[in-house]
Amino acid sequence: MENIGALSILLAFCLAAFSVVAAIAGKHARRPFLVVSAERAVYAVWALLTLASAVLVSLLIQGDYRLAYVASHTNRAMPTVYKFTAWWGGQEGSLLFWSWLLATYSAIATYTNRRKFRDMMPVVVAILMTTELFFVGLITFVASPFQVLIAGRGIIDVGDGQGLSPLLQWWTMAIHPPFLYLGYVGFTVPFAFAMASLVTKQPGEGWIHTTRRWAILTWLFQSTGILLGMGWAYTVLGWGGYWGWDPVENASLMPWITATAFLHSVMMQEKKGMMKVWNMVLVSATFLLSILGTTLTRTGLVSSVHAFAQSPVKPYFTTFIITATALTAFAVLRNLPYLKSEVKLESVVSRESGFLFNNLILLASCFAVLWGTLFPVLMEALTGEKETIDAPYYTRVNVPVALFLLFLTGVGPLIAWRKSSLNSLKRAFLVPSIAGLIVIATLAISGIHHLAALISFGLCAFVFVSIVAEFWKGSRAIQAKEKLPLPKAAFELTWRNTRRYGGYLVHMGIVFMFIGFTGSAFNQHDTRNLGLGQSLRFGHYGLKLLSVNDGENPNYELSRAVLEVSRAGKVVDQLEPEIRFYKSSQQQNSFVGIRRRLNEDLYVNYSGVMPDNSKAIFQLYIFPLVSWIWIGYWVLLFGTVICLIPPKARLIYPRTEVVGIATTPATVES
């Protein structure tokens, strides 16, 4: 069966190569049948990779321990769901998964545009399939998931495997990588359309209209992947951290930042024909940073807790990323005249300028993360001396930047397009500013003197009020004009411009997340010992150890502590943190007990027992406001989904020119 998988991959490689050649030849020779053939090859690549993936998943679930990949990442005792997720649990399988996702995206992009952009599509197909060729090439020739275990001249069956890392046997980890990959891989499509538009010098902003929803959806996947990873780290790693500034975490953050900048600045190009070079740079940077992210994960270039083991793929990834960067830079520089802005900036105090500034700060933040991630590698290469860059560096560098970004999140919607007068600024800023100052003053009076936290909470209030005011004013206007109840007017308002008001909801989600991040300034931590029946006080909680129970299933053994949680003398909860010992991998892992509330989480990690077995050791944490991070995600998800819904009336933005006034900023087609 593994031969079918290996053959499918080999055929997919050949067809991807054919697709690239046929697309380019068809475009140059003006032979439509070659272009159509190239597009059909895209579907064939998808079908073959689907077959290969099905074969691998089947072998993983069946437990065919003749295969090196199956033996390394599964064992008989593992639940079926984790046998399935082992598809992306190791280097070779995850490369196949990546290739399959890219093939799926390519097939969808090709199919949905089969009658559009006939001039541009051959280049789109060529770019997508070149990227596909690289990844399929890796699993064909360098890191095959269908490699069998060989001893001497014979194939051997080891009987049982080593199993998946215990850290990965958790539900969020089962879906975190696919979402992240959906994000990483998805950025290839907007990149391909952007480059194709550039190379073929398409008039207008066709590539933006086509890929806007694609970019938003991909951004949502990336956001979801990142948040799932944070949720996993918080629940599984046992210290309550949701972000450790590990190079691989940073690698997922960087394309997210550039994609966020792109989603903002692309509006400038759509509405005003400005920032064309910048958008091209951002969409390319997002794609290249996605490739960099997977390079960091797979090549051992940087020391990371997430990275796969050292493997022979490093030189191939390095070559690909350098070549892709050079070609992209060449394409952009060669076509600079085509990317000239159509209009000029009227005022520094305008939304256009605000977008520019927002992009600048986002890029500075991205650079700080990139620098911190790669500097140890550069330093070692230049001086031979090793250096560690951990959380303290990132916190110190990124907190001011993040606060400024939060400020811009609130300011952006308050500034008008083209130009804002001082009076309109005063009117727009007054209420949100007062709200922010009231929050700061109230918190300061109540005894909070952490400067960054005060600023952050104040800015959260500022942004929150500015967004609510936008909804309030718009809804009230519709309510008065059309005699609708306020909730219906708010619904109508949102539906009329889903992108704008969905965007505001996304901003609201970010505000909630910042509330959660800021809470970390007040974390409490202690490590304590408890005997059976003994109690202790931690913060305003009382904890009593009721029992320690042992158990076992085919996959692991466990020791579970049962703790009674009380507050003000009243029992409020029971937590059951446990230690698991996985038999196959011989690894131990903790599963924490968490009491989640909106104001704070009580977090208990059962870390072991004292040498004389007299007491259990617990690491105790109080994490204020952390739940707001997860709430913020749901709001962000809701807002993004709203952005993806077509508006009630389709908006068409005529190019505004700096020649006096425009009669209407936009026309509405019913």
Partner: protein, 175 residues
């Protein structure tokens, strides 16, 4: 007394007990004093399993953080200052022991580059704005009147929806 975890497989039991015994050879919580946590917060845990500092590494028996906590504890017991403890460790193990690079020598570049990048970005922004900025042509009095009409209509609709019937017909406000 707590019961040990019930183990059925002897080999597994031996491995588990060995691991547990090794890790609890000495009460690791006794080293977690405020002094140790304060100094440990400036040192990197280098076990390879996390990216925490020596202070907040969650593994009580971590191969990197635990011995380092003990060393700090001993040095603090000898009444060494925080800086002296850090200098001793850096002298012996190099700057790689620190959680973030020192603001001197090559390490200074780490700290300077992000603000420099921001400053360069700001210069580019200023240059772009200056190069692409142009004032609109002066408006005629008729244009001014139209703008005023729209502005007052917007203000009425947004701020004072009490008299919607007074709004004069104009371009659709949905835009």
């Amino acid at each position: 007394m707590l019961r040990r975890p019930r183990l059925w497989n002897r080999k597994l039991a031996a491995a588990f007990l060995l691991a547990m015994t090794a890790v609890v050879a000495q009460d690791p919580t006794s080293f977690l004093t405020q002094d140790v946590l304060r100094v440990g917060d400036k040192l990197a845990c280098r076990c390879g399993g996390c990216r925490n500092t020596v202070a907040n590494c969650p593994m009580l028996h971590c191969s990197s953080a635990d011995p380092m906590r003990r060393r700090i504890y001993q040095m603090k017991a000898r009444r060494m200052s925080d800086d002296a403890v850090l200098n001793t460790i850096v002298r012996e193990e190099g700057v790689v022991a620190l959680a973030s690079p020192p603001a001197q020598g090559f390490g200074l570049i780490t700290w300077l580059m992000p603000p420099i990048a921001l400053a360069v970005g700001f210069l580019i922004y200023s240059w772009y704005v200056r190069r692409n900025r142009s004032s609109p042509e002066p408006l005629s009095s008729a244009d001014q009147a139209i703008i005023e009409r729209f502005r007052s209509q917007i203000e009425r609709e947004l701020d004072g929806p009490s008299a919607p019937h007074e709004i004069k017909p104009g371009p659709d406000s949905r835009t």
